[in-house]
């Protein structure tokens, strides 16, 4: 019976160890995923604004000569 109670104790203890390490890895993975999502969104916005700037610059330079 002793081995059974010991086994039970070990599996309970390991459950806490497993949960602690799983949580730590999960939270870091989620945060890194969140950072990369934000970075992609910002990069897209930046590219869009930059293309608008170059577009407006080209219309300004071609504007007076065209008229």
């Amino acid at each position: 019976m002793l081995w059974r109670s010991n086994f039970r104790r070990i599996s309970v203890v390991n459950k806490y160890l497993f949960l602690a390490y799983s949580f730590v890895w999960l939270i870091f993975m989620l945060y890194i995923w969140n950072l990369s999502r934000r970075q992609t969104r910002l990069q897209n916005e930046l590219d869009e604004v930059k293309s608008k700037v170059s577009e407006s610059a080209s219309t300004t330079t071609s504007g007076p000569s065209g008229s």
Binding site: L19, Y31, Q39, L42
Partner: protein, 232 residues
Amino acid sequence: MNKKFPIWLHFVLTLAGLVITLYMIFLYAPEEMTMGEVQRIFYVHVPAAWVSLLGFIIIFIASIVYLMKRSQHADELAHATAEVGFIFCTCVLVTGPLWAKPAWGIWWTWSPRLTLTFLLWLLYVAYLMLRSYLVNPGRAANLCAVVGVIGFADVIIDYMAIRWWRTQHPQPVIMGGANSGLDPRMLATLLVGVGAFTILFFLLVRVRLSLAEMRRELSEIRHALAFKLSED
């Protein structure tokens, strides 16, 4: 900084540090006699706690620099550090009770160290909430800098709590006096863990700072574009 220490190298170092730490935690460090396997939570709990305190020390310094010089870089550093520090502090508050339950028989107790760590987490939350809810960025930066300076008191008291008072939380195992100490293999594992978590912390702050830089660039271009359009 970026050229001297490229981010890919930082990433490789972090990954190597974490792999070595995991190896040491599960295969090198001996099993603790009274608590058994669950004591291995210690090797993530303590490094995460150290980094949470380090994060607020950086916020404190950056906030003072911001208040004195109005440096936008200092403000961005404080903001990035608060976000990453919050993640580590959350790890402390989750791994702590998961260790406390099998070790003490309770999930939580309002002893000074635990309460002050919870307060530190609330300070991180307050800092990030101020950033999100205040519309005026200048006002948010000022208020957050004040929170960063005042909140630093909690870091000092939190660090000293287990030295000043007898609490449920264990006494310090490093620099804790004559009766403290660790098995050399446990100490080595802890120190490698602290190193790996510190490198990871700086990597995340660095990535978060690059986002702030992109946001600043975006807002500058938008302002320039709006100004140009209004002129036309």
